[in-house]
Structure formats: C-alpha cells, structure tokens
Amino acid sequence: METVKINDIACNDLPWKIQYHPERCTLCGSCIAACTFDAIGPKMERRRLTFTDSATPEPKTRFVAQPVIGQQNAIKNFCRGCGVCERVCPNNAISSSRNPDSRFNVVYATSTGTGPKRGGRNNLEVQSRTLDTLRVGRISQMTDPSLDAQRHTFDCLAPLGRILPAGTLPLNQTADGKLVQDGQTPPVRWIYPIIIGDMSIGALSWRMWEAVSMAVAYLNEECGLPVRMCSGEGGMPVRLLKSRYLKYMILQIASGHFGWNRIIQAMPHMIEDPAGVLIKIGQGAKPGDGGLLMAAKVAEHIQAIRGVPKADLLSPPNHQGLYSIEESVQKMFLSFNAAFKFRVPVAIKVAASATSVSVFNNLVRDPYNIVGGFFLDGIDGGTGAAHDISLDHTGHPAVSKLRDCYLAAVAQGRQGQIPLWAAGGLGKTGNLAADAFKMMCLGANGVFTGKLILQMAGCLGNDHGRCNACNTGLCPVGITTQQPVLVKRLDPERVAENIVNYFLAMDVELRKLMAPIGNSSLPIGRSDCLVSSDKAVADRLQVQYVC
C-alpha cells in the first residue's frame, strides 16, 4: 500500500500525460534518448505474472521486476506534448495526450515561487480569428474584367522607407520637358510585401538562422522574389555583415543593443548597405515585456556575436534614455540614419496597443521625414520566451489597430508616407497569402511573419499548448536551441527548401487573389473589396457586412 501524498507532484497535475503500452515496447530506449525534456525515463515496475509450465493448465503466479518507460513526476521535467517520443518509437508504444484536468498553472507557482514561462504563443484566446470573418467579396465580373493569374503580369512589391508628399519632391523641369531630381530624398526600398520577421541568432539555433538566410538568398537570387529578412536583436555573423548578402538583411536594434558592437566594427568593411534598420520598441506577443534569452541558450558563439558573458540576457522593456516620441525621432532615428549616411531606411516596430495611433500620428507628422516604416506587431504572434502571464493577459490584436492607423493617415491625407507593416498571428491557419492580402486591403503595405517560418522548418509547437518550449534551450527539433546535439536534428538545406517552396506557393496564391479583383498591383487600402460576415467586425473595420 502506498501512502497518499497529496502535495507531491503527480502526473495528472501536468498538462500532458504519457500513454505507454508495455506489451509493444521492446525497451530500445529511443524515446528516452529523443526526449529533450527528460520527461520520461526508465522505471522498474513490479508485475504479477500468471503462467503454466505443464502440458495441462495449472496456473501459477509469480512476481517479477520489469523495466518500463515512465513519465517523470517533476515540475522541471514536465512533458511538453511535443510528440517526439511517438515519432521515434518503432513500435507505436508511446505517445502523449493532453490532460484536460491539468493543475499545472497552480502547482507550478506553488512549487517554484515563479510563474510559468514559455515560447511565445498565445494560448488563452484560441477563438475564431477576425481575418477569417473577412472574404474577398468584390469580384470583377461584367463591369470590369478580372485578370488571369497565370497570364497577366503583376507588380507585387511594397515600399520600405519614408515617402515624401509629391509636392515636396526635389524635381526640376529641364528645357525638354523632363523632370530631374536635384536633391536628396529619403531612401526607399521596394521589396517583397512579406518580410521574414525578426528572430535573432540566439533565439534561433545557428542552423535555423542559417537556413532562413539561405532561403532568403535563394528567393532573391534564383526566384526573383526580393524577400527581406530581419536579423532580430542579436547581431549577425561578421562574415555575413561583410558579404554582398547583407543587402537582403534588415538589421534590428532593440533595447539591449545586442550585437551592435560587432555591427559597428564591421561598418567600414561593408560592401553593401543593409536593406534597412528596424528599431524594436515593443513586441506584440508580450508588449511591455523585454526580451529574454535564458543563460541556457547563451552558447559560446552567441556570446561572441553579442559580445556578452554567459548569463540571462535581458533586453529591458524600454530603451534606456528614451522618454518621448520626439526624442526617439531625434535621437534614435537620426543617429541610425546618419550611421548609414541616410542611404538606409530606418523603421520602427511597436507592439499594437490602445495608443498605437498616437504613436503613428507623432511619427507621420515628424518634420524630419526620417521614419521609414511603422511595423505594428499584434498579439498572437511571437516566437520568443516570456512569462505566461504576459503572453496570456497582455496585448492587442493587430487587425483593427492597423486599420485605425491607416484611417488616421487617410484623414490627414498622409497615407503611404510611412509604410505600414503588420504582423501578429498572420498565417496562423497556414495560409499567409490570404491573411497578407486582407491586411493590405485594410491598409498595410506589407506584413511580416516569424512563427510561421518556424512551422515551415518543422516546429512541433502549436497554439494549443503543444511544446512551446522555445525558452528552454531544449527545442526538440533543433530550431530554438544552441545545444549541438539538438541543433544537428535540423537539416538547414531542407528547411531552406521548405521556406522557398512556401514563398513560391504564396506568391502564386497572392496573384490568385489579385486576379479576381482585377488588380495588377497590390490592393493597398482597397477595403471595398473585402466583406465581413460579422457585423461587429464589418462596422469596426469599415467594410461591407454581408450575410
């Protein structure tokens, strides 16, 4: 008889439970070796065996000690439901299943004195998405012809950089009636309307980051899609900084300034300008919370790239010494513009918030014309590590806020002057083309995406609490870890191929949406071609309600 120890952690307190079939298990040990969380281990169980050792039935009983695979009853080693054990088991002997009666949130705090943390996924609000209530409902028919997605040409590029009102362009007319530019204008890059969003080396394994950059280079050089990728906060390899591929990269700076010592040292040796600089003020998945890279992930090469010792790396929630928007414009934007001699667009990324429109208005009215993009990051995205409480209880959806910003620009006749880029759970259903298209109709010039890229690479996590262990450094597929053995699980070439294929498919799908509305260039602000089956959404976004 065991004593009931009610305050000990038990498997049924944890979010996932192991289903194990000893009769199928050959004790090969593959699952235990594969589980990066140490959530399972070998155990001995005492079994009663009934047997007959004569020609006629003469049942006898004997007790044996049998090795089995068992779940760890420890808060530190709780099963993440990643399913790797099931993937490796040759006999279908093990799997994990969601525990609907989990007491995890309570027992985690009661036994550790801290709140749970996880990789950035929004699990609390897994309800229907706004974008799914929208459809492209204005189809060209008899009044105007739709286009042919295969045959016609489409112009699918989006601007990154500050755009001046036409009346202020430094254009002069020559004697033969030509306009020539005789002054400087802010740099603007026309790029693919989907940017691979900021995931740092550090958050990602070096193989994963390399795979993404390979995909970006391939898309540019072989497929003719000018896709750009943002470095994330954490610098990048010096070899890349000095290579011609730098032009495909948007360098990010956030409050920790990680990696910038090496970037600045590399500047004199750069043979290309980067595609842009993105100043990260906030992040949609955990607004108001800084970045967090656990010491476990700060491997040697990360220490080198970032110029830091092995320690928890915290980007403060706020840029130190930044007290107002005006200051941010003058200090940060001017210094970064100046750093690259006003040849590189400098944009800002903020978390969607009730105050986003005020921030946007301030920037769009700035007299220096140096804010080259407004990246609005909503809840529901994110790949980094954060406290559950931030992920679950803070944040603001991107869709209505993006619309508000666009309409604020329209009201002032300033649409397009600061390109709007939006993100936050886009492509969550797997179809980024549709989400991107709808966001453009609502006013975005383009979108950026991070989490979906991880899915393309083979991430096992989802928005229902599966895995989400990106913060632990134990990513079971080698995406968000720095442990050499785990990183080896990832084949960078396959990952790059997946990303390239996805972008090619998405490019065709974008045309498949542009063709029926008869547009050969991106439908920025064409909310007239969207309809919503949800009255509240329709009213809020000012699109047609249909039923």
């Binding site: 060209s140 009044t143 105007d144 012809p145 286009l147 016609h152 040409t153 112009d155 590029l157 601007p159 755009i163 001046l164 009102p165 036409a166 009346g167 362009l169 254009l171 007319q173 009636g177 030509k178 306009l179 020539v180 530019q181 204008t185 603007v188 026309w190 329209v410 009201a411 002032q412 006749g413 649409q415 397009g416 509305i517 008869g518 547009n519 050969s520 260039s521 920025i524 602000g525 064409r526 909310s527 007239d528």
Partner: protein, 368 residues
C-alpha cells in the same frame, strides 16, 4: 459600358457632330444620357472668350440662388443664352426647367488680380453655386470658366438632341473642341454630376471604364484639393489626378501616364530616369488606377490627349483629316464624322503611350 468621343478641329464644329459621333456607337451604350463639354467657343460666344461662362441647369429657385450668389460676389452679367428647348411630349429626357449659359465680367475687386487669383475665384464661385443648389436638386453648376460650356442630361441622346435643337447644324453654337459621352451612370445612382466629361479649372476628362482603385484614389484626392469633390463617378478620379499632377504639381503631361499606370518595377529599373519615376510612384501610389479604362482629356490650352489602362482593356481609335481629329471608343464613330479620311492614318493607341493632339492638330505618340 459607356462610349466616349472627342472632336478637335481647325474650324468651329456644331455639337450635332458630337451627337452623330456618339449615335453611331449606340449599340455600345444604353441610351441613358448624353453629356458634352465644348471648349474654344465660336458663334454667339466667340466675342466673350476671355470671360467666364457659367453652365447651369436649374429650377426657378436655382436661378434666384445663382443670381444672389453672383451678385454678392460682384460678378456682372454680360451675356446670357438659354437654348430654345423643344418640350414636345414623348421625348425620353428628364429635363430641368432652365438651361442657362451666362457670361460674366469679373468683380471690380479683381480688376488687377492675377490670372491665378481669378482662377481660384472661378472655382470657389462654382463650388458655392453647387452647394447652394444641391438641396432638393435646385440646380447643377457644371462649369464656370472662360471659353467653356457644358451640357448634360439624362435620357435618350437622340431625344436630348431633339430637345435642345442640336440635330440641326448652325453657326451660332459651335466650338473647336468638343468632348462627349453617352450613357448615364447606370452602375450607381443616376446623378447629373456623374456624367462625363468632368471639368475643373480648364481641365476636362472623360473615360470609358471602371476604376477599381476608386476608393484609394478618392480617399487620397479628397484631402488634396477643395475642388476634388463629388466622386459620383469613379472616373472623376482621372480628372482630379490630371489636375493635381499637371496644374498643382506642375509636372508635364507625359508624367500623367506614369502616375496613373506606372511602369512595372522590372521595367523601371532599366531606365535612366528610374529615380524620378520611382519617387513619383511612391509619392502618388494612391493615384494609381487599375481596371479597364480609356481616358480622353483636354488641358486648359485645349491640347487634347488619350491614354489607356496598363493592359489596354478598353478600346479607343483616333482618325483624322487635314482639319479635324476625332477620338472615339469605336471606329464607326470616326467613320460617321470623317467618312473620307485616309483610314491608314487611323491610330489605335497602345497601353504604354499617350496620344497628344496639339493646337496645330499635330498628333504625337508619347511612349511612356
């Protein structure tokens, strides 16, 4: 679909020619309206070329409102013409009680005013008239500009011609430039202001097509200029963009095409002037048009032009002889006006050019 046409001649042309031009294309439109703008006027208006003429369709009350506004602003009436209308029963026309063409002298205060000041005054006056008569459809002020008159009505173009007695040519009511369109706005509400050609400060535009970027054009234009109003038709956007780029920004006409139908990026980057073209595209991204269109436009100096959407989804043809150039949606319209021309000189403009007819009737094709 609507049909559009235009005549530009060395001689004064009677609007019956415009009716003929459009009548022959009758199968292509729906007989729901007729509108035209006449510029460089002859006949009874020839002596008043330097003074603004107001084109008005209104009720008795509208007339009073107009008089009050014009008096208050200090305009002095110098010439007035009401076409003799034929109000016989059975005509398919939704006639207004009065059609009035009044020519004014500028207020005394403007004796020494600059051309620019006068042009702003004319626009403001027309906008005030429009607002003043808007309620209950008391009247419509289509244009108020020197040497320009406008006529628009709802109904069968043939009956509209009969109603205004313009089937019979005479030398009293003529112009060297006439632009015309048939069909009222059958997509949306029937509103007189929705009929092309549209006119603003010397610029005229009319179009055969659908502007699928209407909403973004409109959202952008309504903040650009006080005269960019109405938007009863998506084709008004073409006029406002023409006015904005050519007059407000002062860009040569050749850049109009670059604004409304920018070259694809892959072509732009091969050009020497890519920097300027990209800057324009960026700054005026919301004035790009999309969808099938043919546009005919006239500039304040009476230069006429036509261009199409970037995929050439709507037709237009140019035919000419020594003295006259005709633009028409369909070639049958040109045949009607210039049956004896050399057909080989007909032009079918392509999607990447503007065809421009100057005042010497020289026709130029400007490659975008």
């Amino acid at each position: 679909m609507c049909r559009i046409g235009a005549i530009k001649s060395r001689h004064y042309v009677h609007p019956s020619q415009a009716l003929l031009l459009m009548q022959s294309q009758q199968k292509g439109h729906d007989n729901s309206g007729f509108a035209m703008v006449m510029q460089d006027l002859g006949g009874i208006f020839e002596n008043y070329k330097h003074l603004p003429t107001l084109s008005l369709a209104c009720t008795d009350e509208g007339l009073q409102i107009t008089k009050a506004i014009m008096d208050a602003r200090g305009f002095r009436l110098v010439h007035e013409w009401e076409p003799e209308t034929n109000r016989q029963p059975g005509l398919d026309i939704q006639a207004m009680p009065h059609y009035v063409y009044q020519t004014f002298d500028y207020p005394d205060a403007y004796a020494d005013a600059s051309q620019e000041e006068k042009e702003q005054l004319l626009l403001d006056t027309r906008l005030e008239l429009r607002r003043g008569m808007e309620e209950d459809c008391k009247g419509f002020a289509y244009s108020f500009w020197p040497d320009v008159i406008t006529l628009k009505e709802i109904g069968d173009p043939r009956d509209i011609g009969t109603f205004f007695n313009i089937w019979e040519p005479d030398d009293q009511f003529t112009a060297k430039v006439i632009t015309a369109q048939c069909r009222q706005n059958t997509n949306y509400a029937i509103v007189r202001y929705a009929a092309h050609p549209f006119f603003l400060q010397g610029y005229t535009a009319l179009a055969n097509g659908e502007n699928t970027f209407y909403q973004k054009n409109k959202e952008f234009q309504q903040n650009l200029h006080r005269g960019y109003i109405g938007f009863e038709s998506d084709s008004q956007c073409f006029l406002y963009t023409l006015h904005h780029t050519h007059r407000e920004l002062g860009w040569p006409l050749s850049y109009y095409k670059h604004v409304i139908t920018p070259l694809p990026f892959e072509d732009v980057v091969k050009r020497e002037d890519q920097q300027q073209l990209l800057a324009m595209r960026q700054s005026l991204a919301h004035l790009e048009i999309n969808g099938p269109n043919t546009i005919i436009g006239v500039l304040p100096d009476n230069t006429m032009f036509t261009c199409c959407d970037a995929k050439k989804l709507r037709p237009v043809v140019l035919g000419r002889d020594e003295d006259t150039v005709v633009l028409s949606s369909e070639v049958c319209g040109v045949n009607e006006i210039l049956p004896n021309r050399n057909w080989e000189t007909d032009m079918y403009p392509n999607e990447r050019e503007i065809v421009v007819i100057d005042n010497n009737l020289e026709v130029q094709r400007w490659k975008q």
